[in-house]
Subunit: 386 residues, 2 copies
């Protein structure tokens, strides 16, 4: 007999059917068949063990649906059937969330990081996961996976953080280490790609085959979904919108070039520019925003330049792969009123021809969403595992 | 009874199996099963009618293969079973090729275009197709499809040229019109995407899930294959590497911005720059190349700037998509000795982290290859049609 938490009948078709119900449900079996281009028989066969194992539930027959000519008994995912933990590591903090199978956050926790050595970070992850598992025990639901999101170059397949500048790590086999420490299946993913998975399965990317998620804040990142799959890059690098170089006379970037989008639009770059032009002793982004909102021209100009750079970066993405939608998010949106117009104007100016039709949206996401992205990758791994 | 030219049993699996043999054959059935992740039974079932219809042939048992432990009787595509016509339309010329089913060019023809009005171009296409069909009759093989490649914004699904600046066309339903005139199934595709299909199925992209084809010459274009499929763009625009804007102080581009890659590196841009800096009365690219090869500093500098811009464009593509390979091609490669080093150096400088590992290749392709790309799209449509 399989353990109660095992996900039944692991085939690509079953994973596809389950994912479809997860993102679009409730759906009837025939609606699932239509969306997946699988046969009704295949869907019926796949759904049965998923219901038996409690991952899908069949709602009671609904007269309203029948009146609309839709056959009865749609199925949906039982979010409460399993829990997952997602942790995002920044340079000075861990953010952890406990989510259900539908990636709804049940509990969120923050833990300061004082030491970025991999052993210290692992010990902190272990503490945080322990806390969240205690919460899960209270709920009486098993935790079936752990997702870890880290900025930088991450090899998800191997579970290795190849290079993370914020943490100062290189070649850390994080999945293996965390798996030993926490006793859970572990998925390690780049933080922006993890957030992209959450948007693709549960957010503003549901139902889109091609979209981009652009994150603004400490860095300028981009997750790309092309032909329905997240782009990982053959060599581990993809979505580096922050290093689209738009001005050879622009400020120096940490990558060695000049005028990268990140060197103009990341939080630290904006602060540097404001200090330089105004001479003001601005300590952090909150003060910078405050200064700009009070009308200080140098501060306003720095945010305007940031918006212009972000808009050009987005136009470059749109011109190269023509997404249906670009979602702008990240903690940098706190300054949105200071650069929204410039993002829009420079996107429009630099989008080529009908690429300008791309739907550019902003979507403020609380910082816990990064951890939720990590949980989404754990859910994804759970559904697709062998 | 089906007509002799009908492609048997149109299912996605059959198309996938046939395409696999077309790109990678000869292959045994079990090798096909392995590459397509389909069952051996499915492959055997699909192969039989393809052999019966003459599209696949089974080579005689081969002792050498058996000695290597490979089961006998690999199958391969019989290229001579069917012919296709591909036509590329430039602003002043039609280039037409007659290819076999393996996209090998049998005959090539050029026809000057004096009038770019759609009716005049259609009449010229009809003449050229008629000539090539006469050649096909001589070979005694049926022509089963026509591909037309046009630069600009092309909606392949609808068969419409939405906008082509070189031809001065907008919203021309070319597939329908050419279908009526020529009596063949017609595929219309953007020229760079057509060339990308030829590379993906028959060229330097075979076996790669992610690559870019960058074409240099009159324009700077880019075809992208991501997750095994050519990127078309949700709004018809994709691969616009020519409009990656790298220098706000750069020359004006026809798109309205400044410092686009195309405004620095396209043939006309290089000529303009040489005329400007040297005062020389350079009539065409051949003279410009000649001047640069003779060591004229202004001419050398113009080509160096072009190479630098192309390298930066390629780095942007690599940083965003992380392709396995970038193939540089196009008639602009005639000047390759004048800018190869600059392409390489600026790619390396602007590639972010491990994106620099991307394999950047040059592949000089004769101008007929553009027409061959059009034929490749016709073959693709034939295999995938219902």
């Amino acid at each position: 007999m399989q353990p109660p938490e095992a996900f039944p009948a692991q085939t690509p078709a079953v994973a596809q059917i389950f994912t479809t119900v997860l993102s679009h449900g409730p759906l009837t079996r025939s609606e699932v068949a239509e969306r997946t281009a699988l046969s009704a028989a295949a869907v019926t066969k796949a759904v049965r063990p998923l219901i038996e194992a409690g991952y899908l539930v069949e709602d009671a027959d609904d007269a309203a649906r029948r009146a609309l000519g839709r056959p009865a008994n749609p199925v949906r995912v039982d979010g409460g059937r399993a829990l997952f933990i997602g942790v995002k590591a920044t340079g000075n903090e861990l953010i952890g969330v406990l989510t259900d199978l539908c990636c709804r956050i049940r509990v969120a926790r923050h833990l300061p990081l004082t030491d970025q050595d991999p052993r210290a970070v692992l010990a902190a992850i272990s503490d945080l996961v322990g806390e969240l598992r205690t919460e899960a025990e209270g709920l009486g639901v098993p935790v079936l996976g752990l997702g870890l999101a880290v900025s930088g170059d991450v090899d998800r397949a191997r579970g290795v953080v190849r290079y993370s500048p914020f943490l100062g790590w290189s070649e850390v086999p994080l999945a293996e280490l965390a798996g030993m420490t926490c006793g859970l299946p572990v998925t390690v993913e780049n933080d922006v790609r993890a957030l992209t998975v959450a948007e693709q399965w549960f957010g503003a990317g549901v139902g889109l085959s091609d979209f981009a998620l652009v994150t603004v804040g400490a860095g300028i990142g981009c997750g790309l979904v092309v032909h329905g799959q997240v782009v990982a890059g053959a060599h581990g690098v993809a979505g580096e919108i922050g290093h689209v170089a738009i001005d050879p006379a622009g400020p120096k970037c940490r990558c060695g070039n000049r005028g990268c989008v990140e060197a103009i639009a990341a939080d630290a770059a904006v602060l540097d520019r404001i200090r330089e032009t105004t001479g003001a002793d601005v300590a952090d982004t909150a003060q910078a925003i405050d200064l700009a909102r009070r009308g200080e021209p140098g501060a306003r100009e720095a945010y305007a330049a940031a918006g212009e750079a972000i808009g050009r970066g987005i136009a470059t993405v749109a011109n190269l792969f023509g997404p249906q939608r670009v979602i702008i998010s990240g903690e940098g949106l706190a300054a949105y009123d200071l650069f929204a117009e410039q993002i829009r104007d420079s996107f429009t100016a630099y989008a080529f021809g009908s690429a300008a039709q791309c739907d550019v949206q902003t979507r403020p996401l609380p910082f816990e969403e990064w951890a939720r992205g990590a949980a989404a990758t754990a859910i994804q791994s759970f559904i697709r595992s062998d």
